[in-house]
Symmetry: C2
Subunit: 304 residues, 2 copies
């Protein structure tokens, strides 16, 4: 049973009200792959970097059991994102984006990647999500993330993606933008009718909604509460990756609704760790004990 | 064991994207008292109305087992609120407020009210909350609500209130305004240090946080999800009232943390009904079976 994560691998500069750091490991696939590797190794990574990509970052990925055969390196600068967070850490402003290597990139899935049953199409253009999927030989379960940009400029391709996936993950603002309704329950149901059997709407610090195949299959997951959110970059990607890793670890490449619920909770817990430090620093160091403690705390937190 | 609800009793005009209605029963104490009466009768009401107050509204209150001995009627117009909700039903604009009878009102607690052990100080000026409390002979548990206005203009009095209550209930925006932090977990802890043993921060459609005596006493309550929110006016007041009614019904006028958790869930469920129609129309008609069904649904919704 194997797991492929495709998406962006980036160099990030991040500024928060507390601190600022440059040349950080970033990108949707980097976060998702590390999160997945907590549960299952190896993770097959598909992405692209430039010749300026810090070796420390590739070493970190390798040390987590991530196979880099599908991480293409080209003669250009790496994808570079720079962003700032304000008072309320839910508000983020992108200061600059340089696509660089991403500009003309077409994902090429390596041999061991093609065999994966669990496919994570982390945030990248819907076109690249489709190109990735075209090269997968036997996907059992496909998870895709997206963002406001693609809903704006590539909605047709996004609809194609939605016909071919089992789970779409997006945040509340994106769900409202995509469906034109402000009611998230209605939004989830509309999105599900567009194709995917499952839809997750993420609510940031307020957790997430999982909409399942059946209208009665509906799960409200709380977020693990954090007294200090240091840097939420990549929390959503970690959520996605942890879900996928958890499902593969449990042999659930055709997950039922119970599997999905459990996976969402793991995603939520993993995202909470990501928020506690810049980049993947906290994420990459989570221990099984720490993870289980938070899981138990969350269970106790919502019990009634 | 008896229960007092003090606060405003109003005539409301409400406009939503779907509809508009005038001369509705409104006011913090009206909603809270009806919600409380679902669990426990009689409810002792303290408030003030004018000579224009529709008899249909007082009849409704009486029919719910609410004792109106403490509902003063004076020669003036009733407190009148007019508001409008926009696309996202969480955004509300007050179109007009006429204090009228409220202007010079000082709560006078009637004889059976003074004996109450459970006191609900629904939203009104902190000064009137204190005046009410001064007249109570043996309060065991005091719940107070507040709003942005009092945090703005009457913070000293509000601090006095907080020294004398067991539970403060406010929404997320108010909690941030009051404490100057955008982190709700931190905000809850700061508020608790100001006096009340318990603090609830309401998150609208996202549920609520309960902060207890001990830092480990922390509860994340989900909201019952509504596909259509018709009119959220009074949802918070219903939450408060239902909590208090539930606690009295269970003989928990000195509730422990388990009692509190259970009460919060009842408040959350009751608030969901209030949102489904104008004014107290849905709230006043909730049946025990409907209530138990939603409770079971919520339990299932969050289970993992």
């Amino acid at each position: 049973m194997s797991l492929l994560v495709a998406g962006t691998v980036a160099i990030d500069d991040v500024k928060t009200p507390q601190a600022e750091e440059k040349q950080l490991l970033g990108g949707s696939a980097a976060y998702a792959a590390i999160a997945a590797s907590f549960f299952h190794k190896p993770v097959e990574l598909v992405g692209v970097i430039g010749n300026d990509f810090p070796e420390a970052h590739t070493s970190l990925l390798e040390s987590k059991g991530i196979n880099l055969d599908g991480l293409e390196q080209v003669e250009d600068e790496s994808f570079h994102w720079s962003g700032e967070y304000f008072e309320n850490m839910n508000r983020r402003e992108t200061l600059s984006v340089s696509l660089n290597v991403l500009e003309n990139w077409q994902p090429k899935v390596h041999e061991t990647g093609r065999e994966a049953e669990m496919i994570v199409l982390a945030n990248m253009s819907p076109e690249n999500q489709l190109t990735t999927l075209d090269q997968c030989d036997s996907p059992h379960f496909v998870i895709a993330d997206t963002m406001d940009l693609w809903i704006d400029i590539a909605q047709d391709k996004l609809h194609e993606v939605m016909q071919r996936i089992d789970l779409l993950v997006l945040n509340d603002g994106e769900a409202m933008q995509f469906t034109g309704t402000n009611n998230l329950i209605e939004a989830g149901e509309i999105l599900q009718k567009k194709g995917p059997g499952h839809v997750i709407i993420k609510l940031g610090e307020h957790g997430s909604f999982l909409f399942g195949d059946d209208h009665r299959e509906f799960f409200r997951c709380a977020a693990y509460p954090l007294k200090e959110v240091f840097d939420p970059t990549g929390a959503g990607d970690s959520f996605l990756g942890a879900m996928a890793g958890y499902l593969v670890h449990h042999g659930a490449t055709k997950p039922n609704y119970e599997d999905m619920r459990q996976a969402v909770v793991r995603g939520s817990i993993m995202a909470s760790f990501t928020c506690e430090a810049f980049s993947t620093k906290r994420l990459a160091e989570v221990t099984p004990d720490e993870f289980e403690d938070r899981l138990a705390e969350l269970r106790e937190l919502i019990r009634f």
